[in-house]
């Protein structure tokens, strides 16, 4: 699922601009994620992190530049076609279907690949998140914040993605739950899914990731390995509380 064609990156953004009407949210953003990596993108509130993930799905569309997946230009394809390529998003605010049961939410994750692997994949996500199994027939809206985040991740995994995009999965969760979520992300990556993680929680994210980018006002300001960025004075000052 993860093999690249002709040495191309798994995901590549090249000089991408994106805007909401007059508000330019991304300016000449270039970055890449290779198969098997954990890459993180950190940035302050309003930097354009969510927009960057959204442009991969064409909402909003990149106004210029190119987005490639496995070497294929996907800049202009329809939103619902992106999932079928093997890209899944765990969005900011989780966006689970609160009126549906936990089970139905998980089934929604399989729309892009069809129902063939539902049984074994359910067993896999229940191993990862036993809580979801206990709550299978419960309305998803009744879950706690942490459980909803687990459900959003599990839903994404049900589509067997080659690339998993996550938008601030630690937002609003208790420290203990955040630790669990990050441990799970490490497991997911170890099992062969490439992870691209957007976070404000720079400390956790940079420790998990092999490489990272720093987004400031819609532009990539810095990039490097997780450890390089953790040691960078600018990053320490702006994102790690200055010590």
């Amino acid at each position: 699922m993860n093999e690249t064609q002709g040495g191309a990156h798994l995901l590549e953004l090249q000089e991408v601009d994106a805007a909401y009407g007059p508000v330019q949210a991304l300016k000449r953003v270039s970055l890449h994620v290779d198969a098997g990596e954990i890459v993180t993108l950190i940035g302050a509130n309003g930097a354009g992190k969510s927009t960057l993930l959204a442009t991969v799905f064409g909402e909003p569309r990149a106004a210029r530049g190119h987005i490639r997946f496995n070497g294929r230009d996907i800049t202009g394809i329809a939103t619902h076609e992106v999932a079928k390529l093997g890209i899944a998003l765990v969005p900011e605010g989780r966006r689970i279907f609160s009126g549906m049961t936990v089970e139905e939410n998980l089934l929604m994750g399989t729309i892009c690949i069809g129902p063939a692997h539902v049984e074994p994949d359910l067993i896999k996500v229940f191993e990862m998140f036993p809580r979801l199994k206990e709550r299978l027939r419960q309305r998803a809206g009744t879950l706690s914040g942490g459980e909803q985040q687990m459900l959003a991740i599990a839903r994404a995994l049900m589509g067997r993605p080659g690339l998993l995009l996550l938008d601030e999965p630690s937002l609003g969760l208790a420290p203990l739950v955040v630790r669990q979520i990050f441990e799970t992300l490490a497991e997911i990556a170890a099992a062969g899914t490439t992870v691209f993680l957007v976070e404000q929680n720079a400390n956790h994210a940079l420790r998990l990731a092999g490489r990272g980018y720093v987004l400031v006002n819609g532009e990539i300001r810095l990039s490097g390995t997780g450890n390089e960025l953790l040691a960078n004075p600018e990053v320490r000052k702006a994102y790690l509380g200055g010590h």
Binding site: E59, H80, A83, G99, M100, M108, G109, I111
Partner: protein, 305 residues
């Protein structure tokens, strides 16, 4: 007031309410998924009444003499062609306006309604249309002086409505298509990200709504035997009232609202005044909108993101 007369009015109201409920489904599902009142929906229902008459004359000109077989063909033709109308209306009047202002599709809907009305009036004539009675007889329970009865066609209306509602509920609650409809209703953007072609789902909802209206059109035409191009307005408003009463966006609400409206209208015309029975629905609509705009069952159905 005698009990059997009261019961009789409730039975009359039940078959009437089933019709309102069937049409209300189209209003409520379209509202649920794109947040818009499809004002052309009453006209879709009217078209199905004409299709019933046309299909009937064609079927009988081929010498089909089995009534159940003829009814099946008529129902199939009316549903298929009406569903196609529903699909086309969405494509040409609403989809191009998606993402524009909230008012634009509303105006487009009213325009579409006028177009359809004029189109039928011009192509079919403004005269009242009639069809022969296919289903006669009734079922009577009670003594010779005190009884309640339902005509066979009223029984058919209730039976077909229950079957159609059962099938629709199954599709929405238990199938992948139904889950995709509910997901698109709750969070269209997330549905798209998960790989759902939300435009296709919205089309499907228009097709489902039109099909249900077509079932209602066939049943009403068989029951009354006559109609003209203006039935869309009164019946459309009443079905819309049923949808609002039940809670717009809610499927069981549409059915419940239909039955409550049908029964209270029948009681009103039986015991208060027949001439004002159409006004009754309007008054009810206004009262519901003032005192309980979310309707009876319309609350936790969806939270728009």
């Amino acid at each position: 007031m005698e009990l059997h007369i009261f019961a009789q009015q409730l039975l009359n109201g039940l078959s009437l309410g089933a019709i309102y409920g069937l049409i209300a489904i189209g209003y409520t599902m379209v509202y649920g998924i794109i947040g818009m009142i499809n004002f052309a929906h009453g006209d879709v229902y009217m078209i199905s009444a004409y299709l019933t008459a046309i299909a009937m004359s064609v079927v009988f000109s081929f010498g089909v003499d089995s009534v159940p077989f003829a009814l099946l063909i008529i129902l199939a033709v009316a549903v298929l062609v009406t569903a196609a109308y529903g699909w086309v209306i969405e494509r040409i009047a609403y989809r191009p306006l998606r993402g524009s202002t909230r008012l634009a599709p509303l105006i487009s809907a009213i325009g579409m309604s006028l177009v359809l009305q004029s189109y039928v009036q011009v192509s079919q004539g403004a005269r009242n249309q009639g069809i022969p009675t296919l289903i006669k007889g009734s079922l009577r329970i009670g003594s010779d002086t005190k009884f309640v009865q339902m005509t066979h066609i009223q029984l058919l209306i209730v039976a077909v409505t229950v079957a159609a509602m059962g099938a629709l509920t199954f599709v929405i609650q238990r199938t992948s298509l139904g889950r995709q409809c509910r997901a698109t209703q709750q969070d269209r953007k997330m549905a798209g990200i998960l790989g759902i072609d939300t435009n296709r789902i919205i089309s499907t909802v228009f097709v489902i709504g039109a099909s249900m209206a077509a079932v209602a059109g066939v049943l009403v035409t068989l029951n009354y035997g006559s109609f003209d191009f203006s039935i869309d307005f009164i019946t459309g408003i009443k079905a819309f009232t049923a949808a609002v009463l039940g809670g717009i966006g809610s499927l069981p609400g549409a059915m419940l609202g239909g039955v409550i409206l049908g029964m209270s209208e029948a009681l009103f015309s039986g015991f208060v005044n027949t001439d004002y029975k159409d006004v009754f629905a309007f008054v009810l609509l206004v009262v519901v909108l003032i005192f309980r705009p979310s309707g009876l069952l319309g609350k936790a159905e969806f939270e728009k993101v």
